[in-house]
């Protein structure tokens, strides 16, 4: 097994699988978030279920955190190896002539998304853990909507979220379809996968941006 994980292809497959897992998770995340725009009660119900269901809390959440950690740790390991593979740099290197910017800057877009995840975890996850386990507050199935809206009140946080979603979009624009190529899928379905990747990479981050802006501008709560 250790010999397998030393292989460049196996490491790339780990990146691809963890990335695809996160792609699926984003659909779940944006669906729940969208409920906050459509109906606060449904959003509260769903959020409460996600926050207190033992299967979600003690099985799915650790798997999700593992997925995120594996994806970014492996990303940095591969980037370190890649830098080492060209120890003497070119005096002139015109990467833009043969490859799109998004494909050449996955570490940059991924790094920004990782930094955003730090803020996002602080905003919501740490808050949730503190509420439930440190302060040991009682269950309140009606608190989530107001807490979420309040988070988007400051302009700076909304702007940071929007910037991060744009970078997430760029990361997905290359990463989603690329993961199929890594896993050996390059056939008649590839053009379709590439088209779907572009739609996904625009629609999902745009939905997150819409939700953040909606709550920032929501006149009822402010």
């Amino acid at each position: 097994m250790s010999a397998l994980l030393k292989s460049s292809i196996a490491r790339k497959v780990v990146m691809a699988l963890s990335g695809l897992f996160l792609v699926i998770f984003l659909v779940l995340h944006v669906t729940i978030n969208m409920a906050s725009v459509i109906d606060p009660d449904i959003f509260n119900q769903w959020s409460h279920f996600m926050g207190y269901n033992p299967l979600v809390q003690f099985l799915m959440q650790p798997i999700l955190i593992a997925g995120v950690v594996i994806h970014f740790v492996m990303g940095f390991v591969l980037e370190f190896q890649n830098k080492r593979a060209r120890s003497v740099k070119y005096v002139k290197f015109r990467g833009s002539e043969n490859a799109p910017w998004v494909s050449r800057n996955m570490i940059l877009t991924g790094g920004v998304v990782l930094a955003f995840l730090g803020l996002h975890f602080y905003d919501f996850w740490i808050h949730e853990i503190t509420y439930k386990f440190v302060e040991a507050n009682p269950e309140d199935p009606t608190r989530y909507y107001e807490e979420t809206v309040a988070k988007f009140e400051p302009m700076w946080r909304t702007v940071l979220y929007i910037i991060s979603f744009v970078l997430l979009s760029l990361h997905l624009w290359h990463g989603f379809a690329s993961s199929f190529q890594t896993m050996g899928v390059n056939n008649k379905y590839t053009p379709g996968i590439k088209k779907f990747t572009k739609i996904y990479a625009v629609v999902i981050p745009l939905a997150f941006i819409f939700i953040a802006l909606y709550h920032h501008l929501n006149p009822v709560m402010h």
């Binding site: 292809i9 890649n82 043969n98 494909s103």
Partner: protein, 248 residues
């Protein structure tokens, strides 16, 4: 044409290199890039200077020895060609041209613009062959019927000349396109299937040992490959590798 050249000069593998400025005059548009370097070298020899060392052999686009990064691109500002097929009409009078060797840790510079690409040979030696009984019982390859589409794909993969432009173009100095072409040309044919699992495992292991980077699917290799080797080969190699590893 009068051209201003910035060329990498390096005395030997252990010395530190640097870019040196040269001016070359009397360059014709019909000259190949290598002929332009010949003109420059003749001038240097006449002046008593040491000529610039660069690799070349066939000068007809099939040997893949001319490992030059020209103005930031492998084999210069054109696609599907090697340096000997790059003509000076692609440049304008008064242009400044930056000429460097292909850069990769696995391709150390031997002198000036010459690099050591024996890493590719070691990858080939690790499995890029079909073991054939030559004791008198050799089966005629043409006796085995092969689907036209498979034969064409195999032939396309086999057109890889091992020039290293894929490594040079890749921001990670990955050798996946080269290795996958060499894996694919056999994996697609019945004669190559017998040793397919060992071949892909051993060639990928050797590729990793040589210190090439990892593929991030930018596609730069495919664009710069003088023979148009497709990224399909990388996907095929990954499939072959995963299947071989799963079988143990």
């Amino acid at each position: 044409m009068k051209l201003y050249l910035k060329i990498w000069r390096q005395k030997d593998a252990n010395s530190k290199g640097k870019m040196v400025d040269y001016t070359v005059e009397g360059v014709e548009g019909d000259m190949s890039f290598l002929e332009m370097l010949d003109v420059l070298n003749e001038d240097l020899i006449k002046q008593g200077d040491e000529p610039i060392e660069f690799d070349h052999d066939c000068r007809e686009g099939i040997c893949g020895t001319c490992s030059l990064q020209i103005n930031g691109r492998p084999h210069g500002p054109d696609t599907r060609i090697t340096v000997c097929q790059l003509h000076m009409r692609k440049f304008n009078d008064g242009d400044t041209i930056v000429i460097e060797p292909f850069r990769a840790k696995a391709f150390p510079v031997i002198k000036d613009l010459i690099i050591d690409r024996s890493a590719f040979e070691r990858i080939q030696q690790a499995g890029g062959y079909v073991s054939v009984n030559t004791s008198g019982n050799t089966v005629d390859a043409n006796a085995i019927p092969i689907e036209k589409e498979m034969a064409d794909k195999s032939f396309n993969a086999a057109t890889c000349i091992g020039c290293g432009a894929c490594v040079a173009a890749c921001k990670n100095a990955s050798a996946m396109l080269f290795t996958s072409a060499k894996v694919s040309q056999f994996a697609l044919l019945p004669q190559g299937r017998v040793e397919a699992a060992d071949r892909v495992r051993n060639m990928v292991r050797q590729m990793d040992l040589e210190g090439f980077g990892n593929c991030t699917n930018t596609g730069a290799c495919e664009v710069e490959c003088p023979k148009g080797i497709s990224l399909e080969n990388i996907a095929r190699m990954n499939r072959e590798y995963l299947t071989a590893t799963a079988k143990g």
